[in-house]
């Protein structure tokens, strides 16, 4: 498999981004919400890491901390390191950090309509990248903006460069977003639910475009999503998050075949499948945890079908299952075995 081959090749390279034991909390009036509790992950050049989880799992907050766009206050990084090509972003000065943003790592947001400035033309917003980071003239920046729009296959780019975001369709707007992230050919792109706001047919097109551009530019990609369907085709590696923690991490094909955490298993079983038409869809029972008051022990234990006494008291570490796999479940062996039956 082609993707598998590139992933292994990338495996030997030093990581592009190495997040280590990251803790983020939000200090609110109601108390401290511990949104990220010791997340570690790595992305290598040309690799795609999918970060999976439901809302409130901390997947977006982790990304915001990496980008340095956390709303602070109330959000604070309290512990950990974010190494980007070996340099810790968290100890960098504000100005130095700003120069990294947009130029060396860029972000694609979920809803392009609200993420693009409504009163500036698409050309202005794209051109701004070149004007600010590269000091280009207005005219040159505009020419580059048109080029970029061609790149992401927006038809009639020359005519549309002067239009405003609301004059574009949802899919085209997301292409503009992608073009903006791509502008300065960054080493890393973080895509935060890039296709969630789009029609299903357009979703596939945008994902395809993103994957293609990634291959072309050789960037590392972090794909944040709650949609398992999106992940399967494009990701090399998956990190599943729950209550601000990584509960399972594995190469993509392995996780689909044999999940090693009951939460991942629940997610996989709740995907609608054609061969189970007519049957009631599986749903993980209970509600996502309240981040102000995360359950003791394993945060998933109140919802877990495998839970035993130990789960409520002892917090599972991320057990190493194989060289590239980990599961934060005391009973991962059981989970793997049970699924095989």
């Amino acid at each position: 498999m082609d993707e598998g081959a590139t992933a292994t090749a990338a495996q030997d390279e030093p990581p592009l981004l190495d997040v280590r034991d990251l803790h983020v909390e939000f200090r609110t009036r109601d108390g401290v919400a511990r949104a990220v509790n010791g997340v570690s992950y790595a992305v290598r050049p040309r690799q795609t890491l999918a970060v999976l989880g439901e809302s409130g799992s901390g997947k977006s907050v982790t990304a915001q901390a990496v980008m340095g766009i956390l709303d602070s206050p109330p959000g604070f990084v309290t512990r950990g390191e974010i190494l980007f090509r070996g340099e810790d972003l968290l100890t960098m000065g504000a100005e130095e950090r700003r120069r990294v943003r947009g130029a060396r790592m860029a972000m694609i947001f979920q809803d392009a309509l609200s993420a693009l400035n409504p009163v500036l033309t698409v050309g202005e917003q794209l051109g701004e990248m070149f004007r600010v980071h590269r000091g280009m003239s207005r005219k040159d920046a505009r020419a580059r903006a048109v080029e970029l729009m061609d790149r992401v296959r927006i038809p009639a780019a020359r005519d549309r460069v002067g239009q405003y975001p609301h004059q574009f369709s949802g899919g085209m707007r997301q292409r503009v977003m992608i073009a903006m992230a791509l502008a300065l050919e960054p080493e890393l792109i973080i895509a935060d639910e890039p296709t969630t706001a789009l029609d299903v047919t357009v979703q596939a097109q945008v994902m395809e475009l993103l994957a293609e551009l990634q291959r072309e530019y050789g960037m590392g990609l972090i794909l944040i999503t709650h949609d398992l369907g999106v992940v399967a085709d494009v990701a090399d590696h998956i990190a599943v998050m729950y209550a601000g923690r990584i509960v399972e991490t594995a190469p993509v094909h392995e996780i689909y075949k044999r999940p090693a955490h009951p939460y991942t298993k629940g997610l996989l079983e709740s995907i609608p499948r054609l061969d189970q038409k007519g049957r009631e869809l599986y749903a993980i029972k209970g509600l996502p945890p309240n981040l102000l008051n995360i359950p003791t022990g394993c945060a998933f234990h109140p919802r877990c079908p495998l839970a035993r006494d130990v789960c409520a008291t002892d917090e599972p570490e991320l057990y190493r299952i194989s060289a590239r796999r980990g599961s934060a479940c005391h009973f991962w062996r059981e989970c793997l075995g049970e699924h095989q039956r």
Partner: protein
Amino acid sequence: MGRYVIRRLLQMIPVFAGTTVLIFVMVYALGDPVQARCGDRACDPATAAQIRHDLYLDHPLWQQYLRYMGQIFRGDFGVAWNGRPVTELLASALPVTLRLTVLAILFEIVIGITLGVLTGLRRGRPADTATLLGTLLVISVPTFVTGYVLQYLLGVKWNLIAPSVSSEARFDELIVPALVLALTSLAYVTRLSRTSVVENIRADYVRTAVAKGLPRRRVITRHLLRNSLIPVVTFIGTDIGALMGGAIVTERIFNIHGVGYQLYQGILRLDSATVVGFVTILVIVFLLANLLVDLLYAVLDPRIRYA
């Protein structure tokens, strides 16, 4: 855009007719202008009849109205109680009030927006709380109180300004009166800009701008303010008309011979020609200011396009 402007101008006709009719009726209801001219004594019946005939007052109200409208469009606003043509009064009063209004608007823009944006960016800090309280205070105290207090303190007690404005009404004399006139609106502009900045600072597109690695200054001026100030600009636009009307109180306090002063005199003397003439001009100013605001809105916010 052109068609929109034409349509809006046409829409002004019924509004203009409606407001002038109302004013006409209200002035008529005020009392007998002929009696007002004779003062406390009873009028000589023959003279009264003569005046009535000269002023067209012996005709039904609707005929008077139509005749008046006809005159206005020929540039004739009638004659005031003191024998001067109303147009002459307008010519002397309008520039004064215009100067006052322009100064007031400048205060609103410079002080109001600056305060609003600065506090909006520092939400929850002491400066923000202090400004919020201050504006609340300003909004609660009526103009005539702040006017008289400032006049007394600055003009009489500390002798920093002349308590009354000369008939030339130079810009420097108008600074304090303009501040008094602007004060309430200024407080609203401050609050509006603050709220707008606070709302927009958490907006997704601001986060995008930060994620693009833009310097903070550029994020604020080009992305945040451009969006936040749209409602503020609209408010200030509509305020032009309100300020000119609101000048009545301020002009009276500082003895400024502007539109408000003339209007006040006109009302006191039941001088229908002056009152109707001046109010008509104010109505036109108001309508044009509103049109201007709507057009400005479309310029500022590309999502709004008038067909």
